[in-house]
């Protein structure tokens, strides 16, 4: 945390805001209290005026920094949208539920439950802390929906508007608990009525035994038809697809046990096994519930951390600043540059734009969009930068699904997935055959035992632990990578990463970085022309363009038209009727041969070469130890620039590494291909701009980004520039996770094999089988999570 103290007021270091508790960069005073910004001060004033300062006594600095711009909520009053958001509506009474992610403490609850003091139109508000939502009853004649939202935003609790209602998951959970409760109730009572049976009854009390049997049957019917119906439905669905899934043996076992017991009771030949049957369903459901809970808690982090931080430029009080896309809200103004992805459905403010929707539709011809047209998330801008207004917030998962679009899928499917799919299908058949043989055997040895043994075998052999091992191991690994700012497209990439034996680097933006470059200009340019250059380079996302944009101080108010970016060559644009070209020597029209130790960027105005920038970028810190650790895996450096840096690079890389300069994007692609034809698994590390083809061709392509994520769907992973020094560790981690996965496979196989032996020989009751089954899956999942966690501590940067 850094805090810049206002020079005029000699206050102590680390002054924190009375409202939000954040360090204050500039201080504002009111009532002897310090505030970090006008937003926080306003919130305090509102609360103070309305006698709501108890807010501050419940928790220390409970406020949320309101530095972020307030959203615009006017659209909430549109009848269509209002209908979707509102829960109940009548002329004088309406209720609405808002999601408020900012809820975090007792003060939040207190304030949000006293909203009626801020506006008398609000009748009542109630917080649900677990869901981070507020239920508000209000009088629509006195207050509009948008005013409520605006009011909440003003006190720091901006509601998040989601138009799709997400209630399905909650209901599913309730369904399970209802089934569980019913099964538990019936199981307990069936056991009670089975007591006489357990102790042995006199023949004289036969009629009582019959009564108990019938009661048991009555209690089991809801268990069979309601509590256990998920298993039957899933089995039925798999039959319809002419396949057999892992629920089939369970369903069969349940049917066998229930049918046999019913037959026994109706024909009065025996008491049946209904205690086992109801218990079985009860424990199966407990297992399922527990599994759900475990997976939820393990998987929760993933949603937030393993997604790459795609950033866009958003307008903050006349200044463009990069923000992460999940901080975008409707109404925000964003600026998108050439080749950047539009992160949310937005409306175009500029006159026109060309958008390439190939990630969404597969059609790569750019579409022309006119002013105030809607642009859909996932389109890629071609040409001039444009300004857009966000219409609808996008979920990160939407973009991730674009990333996983077929067009960017590598041909080879995950090997483990194939193995598991095949194994699971065969496994089920094998289980059925074993169960059949066991049943026949027991029919001759002890027919009374046959049904129980058959059920145990069917229960215990369930291969779900096997099926869960891979997604959990790789999913967890993906999370660990995400923690270190290495974001993978999907879990399959880890599997491929583990097999890599050749690493190819791009130079600009990868091995060299943009920090503190040494930039000079040789030639002559006017101040105005400098400004033009800055304007033009700001349109491009190439690392050298960003360096120049940062370097040039002059600004220009003119705008560029006819902007073009030619990968590997340069950028071109028209400004004040002058054609400006910035890029390589041939592109700018320079025929001279210039020897230099730096990268050269030529500038031409109206086809006259005006000179060139010399940019010597420094190599990233601590990259050499990483390259040394990679040893012979590191096989080449490909650069699109001239060989000015050759000697510098030769020092960095070991002599066995090929250093290739002046490589066009196509040359890079061919180089990767030739390595692959030698049977190597190639990892390509590049900036994703002029090596997109190579990234796609390689077995694993990683794009390096520094501040903003230029989204390159052709790559398999996005790595933050600072973390490139950890590259060898990432490869090692990928290898270890493959080892962990194999171990998990062995464990779950042993589980099944041992338990099956016990079941076949009649030493395992169906009840124990029902308990063992979820325990085995949970232990396998737990093992892989713990193993990954221990790895993570080992590999933490030294």
């Amino acid at each position: 945390m850094k805090s810049i103290v206002n020079e005029d007021v000699p206050v102590a270091q680390a002054v924190t805001c009375f409202h939000c508790g954040q360090p204050c960069e500039e201080t504002l005073w009111l009532d002897n209290k310090v505030f970090c910004c006008y937003g926080c001060k306003t919130v305090f004033e509102i609360l103070n005026d309305n006698d709501l300062c108890e807010y501050y006594t419940l928790d220390k600095n409970p406020g949320i920094s309101t530095k972020a711009e307030e959203g615009v909520f006017a659209y909430l009053d549109e009848p269509d949208i209002r209908k979707k958001v509102i829960g109940f509506d009548s002329p004088s009474f309406a209720s609405v539920q808002f999601n408020v992610p900012a809820i975090h403490c007792a003060s939040c609850i207190w304030l949000l439950e006293h909203l009626e003091r801020l506006n008398s139109g609000i009748l009542k508000s109630e917080v649900n802390f677990a869901q981070k939502s507020v239920w508000i009853n209000f009088n629509p004649q006195k207050i509009t929906l948008s005013t409520i939202a605006h009011l909440m935003a003003r006190v720091g609790y901006a509601p998040q508007i989601r138009l799709e209602k997400e209630t399905k998951k909650k209901n599913a959970d309730y369904g399970l608990i209802t089934k569980l409760a019913l099964a538990g109730f019936c199981f307990g009572n069936v056991m009670l009525f089975s007591f006489p049976e357990y102790f042995g009854l006199d023949n004289s009390e036969n009629s009582l035994a019959r009564l108990f049997s019938w009661l048991n049957l009555g209690l089991s019917i809801p268990v069979f038809f309601y509590s256990a119906n998920d298993y039957f439905r899933s089995a039925q669905a798999s039959f319809r697809q002419k396949q057999i899934n892992i629920d089939v043996p369970i369903a069969l076992g349940l049917i066998a046990l229930f049918a046999r017991s019913t037959y026994d009771i109706i024909t009065a030949t025996g008491p049946g096994y209904l205690d086992s049957f109801t218990g079985l369903v009860f424990f199966l459901l407990i297992g399922r519930w527990f599994q759900n809970k475990t997976y939820e808690s393990l998987a929760f982090d993933r949603d937030f951390k393993s997604y790459f931080p795609l950033a866009v430029h958003k307008l903050f009080r006349n200044e463009w600043k990069p923000v992460v896309i999940y901080d975008l809200h409707s109404g925000d103004q964003i600026r998108i540059r050439h080749m950047e992805i539009i992160p949310a459905d937005s409306i175009l403010l500029d006159e026109k734009a060309y958008v390439d929707y190939s990630f969404v539709t597969g059609e790569s011809k750019p579409v022309k969009v006119l002013q105030s047209d809607l642009v859909y998330a996932g389109g890629r801008l071609i040409g001039q930068p444009v300004t857009l207004v966000v219409e609808k917030k996008t979920s990160q998962s939407h973009l991730t699904s674009l990333w996983n679009h077929d067009a960017f899928r590598k041909v080879e499917e995950s090997q483990y997935k194939k193995i598991i799919d095949r194994a699971a299908r065969r496994f089920t058949w094998i289980v059925m055959v074993i169960a059949l043989i066991t049943a026949v055997y027991w029919y001759f040895i002890s027919p009374a035992q046959m049904w129980l043994v058959l059920t145990s075998v069917l229960m215990v052999a369930c291969p779900c632990a096997l099926a869960l091992a891979a997604p959990f191991t790789y999913g967890n690994m993906q999370r660990v990578f995400g923690h270190h700012q290495f974001y993978l497209k999907n879990a399959d990439v880890i599997e491929r990463l583990a097999t890599i034996d050749a690493v190819v680097f791009d130079k600009t933006g990868t091995v060299t970085a943009g920090q503190k470059p040494d930039i000079g200009f040789i030639g002559e340019l006017s101040k105005e022309e400098y400004g033009w250059i800055k304007e033009l380079t700001s349109y491009s996302t190439h690392p050298l363009s960003s360096l120049l944009t940062k370097f040039i101080r002059e600004t220009s108010n003119s705008t560029i038209s006819e902007f073009k970016e030619l990968p590997g060559k340069g950028i071109e644009g028209k400004i004040n009727d002058h054609i400006l070209r910035i890029g390589s020597a041939p592109f700018a029209g320079c025929t001279e041969k210039i020897d230099s130790r730096s990268s050269l960027v030529f500038v031409s105005v109206d086809n006259n070469v005006r000179g060139y920038f010399t940019i010597s970028t420094l190599t990233r810190e601590n990259i050499k130890p990483m390259l040394d650790r990679l040893r012979d895996k590191c096989s080449a450096l490909l650069s699109g620039d001239n060989d000015a840096d050759r000697s510098k690079m030769a020092e960095l890389f070991s002599p066995s590494v090929q250093l290739l300069f002046n490589q066009s994007p196509h040359d890079k692609l061919d180089f990767i291909r030739s390595l692959q034809s030698q049977g190597k698994k190639v990892l390509m590390v590049g900036d994703g701009l002029n090596d997109a083809g190579a990234l796609k061709q390689s077995d694993v392509g990683i794009a390096i980004t520094d501040d903003t994520g230029v989204f390159t769907p052709a790559c398999d992973g996005i790595l933050h520039g600072d973390q490139i020094t950890q590259l060898d560790n990432f490869l090692k981690l990928a290898k270890s996770s493959t080892r962990i996965l194999k171990t998990a496979f062995v464990i779950s196989f042993l589980y099944n094999a041992i338990a099956l032996t016990f079941a076949v020989t009649g030493h395992l009751t169906p009840l124990t089988a029902a308990i063992l089954m979820p325990v085995s899956s949970i232990s396998v999942v737990g093992f892989s999570s713990l193993a990954i966690k221990s790895l993570r501590f080992k590999v933490e940067p030294a």
């Binding site: 108890e54 439950e113 006293h114 802390f129 677990a130 309730y174 109730f185 009572n189 009670l192 009582l208």
Partner: protein, 67 residues
């Protein structure tokens, strides 16, 4: 085994009555549980515990509408 006929019938009746009562009570509790779950009493187990600690010094202008 020298219980008279009538004794056994008497036992049976008692047992049937007890079973009836125990099942009824069990079902009542089951229904209560299911109802409480459906009505959302387990949705949020945190806020109510905080809410009851708030000292309400507000003037009684609104009718209290607490659940």
């Amino acid at each position: 085994m020298s219980l008279p006929e009538g004794g056994e019938v008497y036992h049976m009746n008692i047992i049937i009555l007890l079973i009836g009562i125990s099942l009824t009570i069990g079902i009542i509790f089951l229904v209560i549980f299911l109802w409480s779950m459906k009505s959302g009493q387990y949705d949020d187990t945190y806020t109510p515990s905080i809410r009851m600690l708030f000292e309400d010094k507000k003037k009684k202008e609104h009718g209290k509408g607490d659940k």
